[in-house]
Symmetry: C3
Subunit: 273 residues, 3 copies
């Protein structure tokens, strides 16, 4: 039996963000065709350095010199799967952490097999929506692709079970994000529904998780910080945005200027926990 | 001899948009490298659900569970052509409609052959510019790639002929959009020249056509509604925009908040018909 | 010994921009996965016409009818390398100029070999950051991917040597851009640090270089005009932007409305030369 989720304190998010900006980690993003640009722009806005390299020889070479590797299976192909495997092995050999975003796992067979294969290769963290995490853990889910038809709370047992099973941090994100590691779970609230109307906010979060996971210190706390930084920027942007179009520039601006004051302000939705 | 184009009424566009938002169709987009993000964001802003899946096995599996399939040949490769064929056959077997965007057909030989091959596989609709539709119908055209050097009116006979020939809806879009099916043609005006200065507005329209074509009811009317929703959002956005950069967020915001009032307002350019 | 850099006059940038808008060159962009959209939008905002074609047969066919070809190796794969070679040969046979953006050359082995191979195929121009240009010229560099750890001034000898070696224009860009051809070098200042926080501004500049290189007149001057047009738009956008998110739409708007008045205004940073 795992412990109850504890609310993640804003002070820790602020500390981790400061560390990130000083370290400016180089994040090797092997991600899907749709979100390349927003992923890079989110990392740049936060002060990290993104790079996308996909040839299998180069991906392996690059993972070894990067701070962290992101593997996102959204638009998986045979050749990309080979490159991802090469990059994962190179990252592992070089002692660099890698993060999995299991996009649409459960809804599609081939990528589900591929993800079942690679989660044995010691990812530092997995970030997915409720349906994806339930599918990956072997529990039933009701996703129909990139959307999740389940709430993150419904997937919490699956996330906790998966975290124990493979020894990785598992973040199941939604209206509330739950980040599980071993017997511990912490919860991050915030964000805004507009984030679901802009493609790539979830995928970009996985890249941010990779950036934070490369930092020294407690990894569970660092992954939770990644989630909180994104949800806090989402709250700020939603106050300025007239819709999903104006949300995106406001979101990147918010990430760029995010500070401890905003991250430690009382989060009005924390009562939902 | 086909009938004269009739102006498409805004009330029908508003009804179809309401239906779309309730149904939230899942649109499988096999589209080109350049417009992945704007295509997804346009569908999300309208209330549809986009997903991009490109491996041939997964594309076939996904087409069968999607509401509609979009095939856009903008950055065609051998492996994508194979995946598109697999997805088209799966969509047909599952009774799901598919839509073709014949980007740059006529200007480039291989894709022209490929599109001539797949238009025999019963697309529900084809959406292209004047040059593309003229080339696809076998009539001469003067495109030099993704641009059209002909007006949509010049391509109207080609669109009507193609529609009869293959039994699909054919939408030739430009300053005025003509949507042809059997003996009927309707016309949609509106939009703004700034739309031609933002990459992907035409490609995204094809994805929106796929979303609307999945709805119950009259398909000619649904495709015209797709065209009108986009041209109306273009008008709204152009009033706020200072250029093509600020046009894009304003356009997505306009799609998100588009309502019957705007769609049924007198369209000042309807006199051009 | 090459001559000292001379400051590039704004009047020449304004003249070249006028020419570009009248000619509306068709630029065949073979570029990386991350920057497809911003590259196309930058070219459209300036009045050029972008097109991305990647199949090897089509790429060769298209290069022959385009005004210029861009080759950017950011997300190189085997099949894209083959297509790029086919396109370069077709461009050369048709007498069309091509431009190389050697993304991350030096940091990654395979693309470095590929770029060493293709710079023998008579590019009209090469545009890169300091690390890339130093690596391409055979001098030591300290890049760690897409970032440059060197200043453009430190790379000036490498750029001048490379320009003489291969008989092409070499632009090494950074806080100050140096454009070298034969014994001549000119310098372009301006821009803003926010440009480094938006993915693709450098890659898009290379596409703009391709557009300008297709114009008649002095090529060194045309490439410098490309650099100045982008740095001037960057200055304008940075005055309106609250961060990298709002910078991007403002930048495209600035490119769209850029005029001689702005381009010939005194550039406050020219004193740095």
């Amino acid at each position: 039996m795992t412990t109850r989720p504890s609310a993640f304190p804003g002070e820790k998010a602020a500390d981790a963000l400061n560390q990130l900006r000083q370290a400016s980690p180089l994040v090797h993003c092997m991600t899907n065709d749709v979100v390349q640009s927003i992923t890079a722009n989110v990392l740049l806005a936060l002060g990290a350095s993104p790079a996308m390299v996909i040839d299998s020889r180069e991906a392996a070479q690059f993972s070894a010199i990067s701070s962290a590797l992101l593997v996102n299976v959204g638009t998986l192909t045979d050749s990309r799967a080979q490159s991802m495997l090469a990059a994962i092995h190179a990252a592992n050999n070089a002692g660099k952490p890698w993060v999995l975003d299991p996009v649409a796992v459960g809804a599609l067979s081939w990528r589900s097999e591929f993800c079942q294969e690679i989660i044995r290769l010691r990812p530092a963290a997995i970030r997915g929506n409720a349906s994806e995490i339930m599918a990956l853990s072997g529990l039933a889910a009701s996703g129909r692709g990139v959307d999740s038809a389940d709430t993150s709370l419904a997937a919490l047992p699956a996330a906790q079970s998966l975290a124990l099973q493979i020894g990785a941090i598992v973040a199941v994100t939604g209206e509330i994000d739950y980040i599980c590691y071993g017997e511990n779970t912490c919860a991050v609230s915030g964000g805004d529904a507009l984030m679901t109307k802009v493609v790539g906010t979830g995928c970009a979060l996985s890249a941010v998780v990779a950036a934070f996971v490369s930092l020294p210190g407690d990894r569970l706390s660092n992954v939770a910080a990644a989630c909180r930084v994104m949800s806090c920027a989402g709250e700020i942007a939603s106050q300025e945005a007239k819709g999903p179009g104006s949300f995106q520039p406001a979101f990147l601006d918010a990430l760029y200027s995010l500070d401890a004051k905003r991250l430690t302000a009382k989060n009005f939705r924390v009562g939902e926990l």
